[in-house]
Symmetry: D2
Subunit: 144 residues, 4 copies
């Protein structure tokens, strides 16, 4: 569906550096998982202080990890000097976001010169099981 060779050989270092600059990720305790061409995972251990009124992770927190996963998945396929900007995203909440941790799996659906469209499935991992709790479609822009 898209060319999966990253144009910048240093894409992983570039993504990990930028992620480290997202101070909110440290604040909520999220970290990067895999960083591959067109694919980035963000992992978030469950924390009580990130919940909504029913004790589930708040939709905004789910959106935060899904958006970063989408944005950095897009970023892996951009030139070395490019920045990535989220234009918009849509998040469908499918099940309560509760478990040991969330994993947001950002994948590029279509990489264009200016616009890259990504999807992130967010699963809740509980022991050896996982459950799809949300899915995002996001539009990212390459900024030179």
């Amino acid at each position: 569906m898209f060319k999966i060779t990253a144009p910048d050989a240093e894409f992983e270092a570039r993504v990990r550096l930028s992620f480290a600059e997202q101070r909110v990720m440290a604040t909520i305790g999220a970290s990067l998982g895999i960083v591959e061409p067109g694919a980035v995972d963000v992992v978030l251990p469950f924390r009580d202080d990130l919940t909504q009124q029913d004790g589930f992770l708040h939709a905004g927190i789910v959106a935060a990890v899904a958006d970063s996963a989408c944005g950095y998945a897009a970023h892996t396929l951009m030139p070395a000097t490019a920045r990535v900007l989220s234009i918009e995203f849509k998040l469908n909440l499918l099940a309560p976001a509760v478990g040991d941790r969330l994993e947001a799996r950002g994948r590029v659906i279509r990489a264009g010169r200016t616009i890259t469209v990504c999807r992130a499935d967010v699963v809740a991992v509980i022991g050896n099981d996982e459950k799809l709790v949300a899915t995002m479609t996001g539009t990212m822009m390459t900024v030179q």
Copy 2:
């Protein structure tokens, strides 16, 4: 566009109680503004530890306050015993989320028995000026 009489006279107390149970709101420093039938504002002072790589508030944080504003705007028009659930939302990011504080203004567009659709405009306030930085459309469900 919708009936703006709240069916539950205690709607404001109910919303404020539920908001106080959203632990993530205390974690990020957000608080409730107005709580009126079909209209709820959420206010978030700017904090460096909620930013993305460019120093703007992360899109997930913008989504968090917009989603809570939408959800509680919907909640004001629900029966006393109902809970509110976000089914999905879409967020368009229009300008960098930076300033003294954000205000997310959730408004009901259409209140149905099961489904309520809301919009939240999110403005960044800087001194006496404000700028629209994001807009959300969200679908909320009444759960009895």
Copy 3:
């Protein structure tokens, strides 16, 4: 919220010409209403052969007029040589699309150099009354 002076004085002629080239609009019987800087209306008389299984206008038809209203609203604010491209839109269906006619009212929310975000409220007009039946948020791109 945005600069409402059209950069191209001939914007209305340009929009009306392009709309006339959208052959699907003639096929479904839609026509242009107002064409102003940042604001375009599309009007669709009700027709039985555009309905879904319950006798209401199909959501895709609602999307068609809303998308054209959004796209041309964006187009009014673009340079004379630019083309407009829909990147994505979201449509919330609020009430059955039935009546004498639909009016899709596309309005620019934020006009940028590359990306323009629009909203279209779609109302069903019945006699002297109108009812909001759908609302779209769309992202449009300026293509030079």
Copy 4:
């Protein structure tokens, strides 16, 4: 991800009957492809009278077949007496919708008692090749 046994053994006949009642599908020349539990395809041969100003199928037409594919995919998993209602959808346009025909492949992501979330990938088929031209995420409601 979801239970793929249809609760109503007659689901295919029920879907095909309802589709035949969507008069707009005959108007644009669309027909049903596969109808399986949680999966419905809608096929649309290319027609010049459905195009936008650049000669591609209009986004509203793409939305029409994607929405019907999503709605009927959801419908296959509903009880015999239920009706299906589109609450909202988001469509990302990834490439020009041009070719011999479109195929909109609606798939259920999560089937709930009230809310079913679907995705539809829309491909343009040209000879033996196909290309992803759009992707929809839609929220459908079961109406008893």
